[in-house]
Amino acid sequence: MEHGSLTDESLPTFSVIDEDHTLANSVRFVLNQDPRVSFCEYSIPHPSDNNVNIRVQTTGDSAKDVLKDALHDLEAMCQHVRSTFDASVTEFKETQPMKKMEVDE
C-alpha cells in the first residue's frame, strides 16, 4: 500500500491506496477531535479506484505528525473497545446460563 503526499501551497493531502470509507471516516473523526487541526476532510476520487484522499490542515504542526497521532489514538480506542467488549462478554456468560447449541438433526 503506497501513499503520496501532494504538497500544493503547503496544504498536505495524503493519498492512501487500498483504503475506503472504513478507515478514512474513522480517521477523519479522530482528527477532528484534535485541537491542532484546523481543517480535515477525506474524499474518494472515484469509487472504482481504491484510493482515498485525506486532507489535513493544521495550526502550525506538521500534518504528518498530527495524522500519525490520530492513527495511534484510533488504535488505542480500538484496543479499549476490544478489552471492554471481552470483559462484557465474559461477564454475560458467567451471569447467564449457557444457551444450548442448536443441533441439526
Binding site: T22, L67, K99
Partner: protein, 368 residues
C-alpha cells in the same frame, strides 16, 4: 447583531454558564426524527464547536475510555445483540463494514469436475458449492496467493461423488454428502502412464490436515440442497476451499448480516390524557406506550419501552399537533451480529476490531 445597551444572551441569568441550553444539547446529542425525515443527522464533530459557550466538545482518549461501555443483551452460538455506548457513528460503521467485508472465512473456490451429467450446469454447480458455509476456523489457515502451492495450511479438499441408479426415484444431493479429504487431493494433474506410477496431485499435503485443524472439517449445515439427480445421472467432483474476505466475493462474508441501530428515545411534547392516551397506546404496535392511572379516573400516557420503537411514526400520523418527539441517541448503538461462519459472533467482532487496528498500523508504518 448586538445593539448598544443590549445584554448578550450569555450574560442573561437563566442560561447556565458552561452548560449548553437544552435545544443545543438536543442538537449535539440526538437525531430528531420528524414525521417526514430526520433532522440533525450530521454530528457536530470537531473540538471547537460550542467553544464560545465554554464547552469542550472534543472526546480525547481519556474521556472516551471513561465513558465507553458495552452491554451484552443476547448471546448465542449464532447471533448476538449488544449495546455500545459512548462511541461515534464513524467507528461503529467501520466495525460494521469490516464485519461484512473484511473478516476472513473459508469457502470453496476451485472445483475440479470429473463427471457431471446432472441437470445443473458445471459453473452453476460450482457457484452453489462456493456459497456453502464451511465448518472450518479461518484463523488456523493461511491465505493462498497464485504462486503458492496448495498445501494443508491453505487449502481444504472436499470430494463429492453421487449417482442416482437407473430405476430409482430422483435423488436430492445435500451438503452432507461433501466428504472431507484430510490427506489432500486424489486427482492427478497428469494421468499416470502405468498403474502405480506416482504423479503430482493438485495439492501437496505433507501430512494429514487433522494436525492443522485438530478436529474433522465439514459443512456447517448438512441439509443444503446442492443438486437433484434423475435416474442414471452422476456428479463426481473435487472442491478446494481457500481463505478469503467478503470484499472479493460475498461467499467469504462471515455474517448472515451485521447491523446496528441507534437507541430510540421518545419524549412527550405535551401531556396526553384520557381518550387520546388510549388511542396513542393503541396506535403504537410495538408497545412503546402504556397507560398510567393518575387516580381520580384520570389516565395519562407514558413511555414504557422506547427501545422497541421502530420509527414507524404511526403515533405522528393523523394528528394536527405532534404529541411526541421521536429521537435517536447519537452515541448509543444497538449492534446485532448474525454469524454464518464457524466462528461465534463475539469472536467475529473481536477479529473485526483487530483488523481496524491492523489498518491503522499499516498506514502508520507507511507514514514513517
Amino acid at each position: 447583531m448586538t445593539k448598544k445597551g443590549f445584554t448578550s444572551a450569555l450574560d442573561m441569568p437563566d442560561v447556565p454558564m458552561g452548560k449548553l441550553p437544552d435545544h443545543l444539547e438536543v442538537q449535539r446529542t440526538r437525531v430528531v426524527c420528524k414525521a417526514d425525515a430526520p433532522i440533525n443527522t450530521e454530528g457536530i464533530q470537531y473540538f471547537g464547536s460550542y467553544a464560545t459557550m465554554g464547552i469542550d466538545n472534543s472526546t480525547p482518549l481519556e474521556r472516551f475510555r471513561k465513558n465507553f461501555k458495552v452491554e451484552v443483551i443476547r448471546l448465542t452460538d449464532d447471533e448476538m445483540e449488544f449495546d455500545m455506548i459512548g462511541i461515534d457513528a464513524a467507528i461503529a460503521n467501520a466495525f460494521r463494514r469490516i464485519l461484512i467485508a473484511e473478516v476472513p472465512t473459508m469457502a470453496i473456490e476451485r472445483v475440479f469436475m470429473v463427471d457431471n451429467t446432472s441437470p445443473i450446469v458445471d459453473e452453476v454447480l460450482a457457484h452453489r458449492l462456493g456459497l456453502i458455509p464451511l465448518d472450518a476456523d479461518p484463523r488456523l489457515f493461511e491465505y493462498m496467493s497464485e504462486n503458492d502451492v496448495a498445501n494443508e495450511r491453505n487449502t481444504i479438499v472436499f470430494k463429492l461423488h453421487v449417482s442416482c441408479k437407473k430405476g430409482s426415484p430422483r435423488l436430492t444431493v445435500k451438503s452432507d454428502q461433501l466428504e472431507w479429504l484430510p490427506d489432500g487431493s486424489k486427482l492427478h494433474e497428469v494421468a499416470p502412464s502405468f498403474p502405480g506410477e506416482q504423479q503430482k496431485a493438485y495439492t501437496s499435503f505433507s501430512g494429514s490436515q487433522m494436525e492443522v485443524s485438530k478436529k474433522p472439517l465439514g459443512v456447517m449445515h448438512k441439509d443444503i440442497t446442492i443438486a437433484r439427480l434423475g435416474p442414471g445421472q452422476t456428479i463426481e467432483l473435487e472442491a478446494h476451499a481457500v481463505k478469503g474476505i467478503g470484499k472479493v466475493h460475498a461467499k467469504w462474508s462471515p455474517v448472515a448480516t451485521a447491523w446496528y441501530r441507534m437507541l430510540p428515545e421518545v419524549v412527550f411534547l405535551k401531556e396526553v390524557k384520557g381518550e387520546e392516551a388510549v388511542q396513542l397506546v393503541d396506535k403504537c404496535k410495538q408497545g412503546v406506550f402504556d397507560i398510567e392511572d393518575l387516580g381520580s379516573g384520570e389516565r395519562k400516557a407514558v413511555v414504557k419501552n422506547p427501545r422497541a420503537c421502530t420509527l414507524c411514526r404511526e403515533c405522528l400520523r393523523g394528528v394536527s399537533e405532534d404529541p411526541v418527539e421521536l429521537r435517536r441517541v447519537r452515541d448509543h448503538f444497538i449492534f446485532t451480529i448474525e454469524s454464518a461462519a464457524a466462528v461465534p459472533p463475539e469472536v467475529l467482532f473481536t477479529e473485526a476490531v483487530k483488523i481496524l487496528e491492523e489498518k491503522c498500523e499499516r498506514v502508520i508504518s507507511e507514514l514513517s
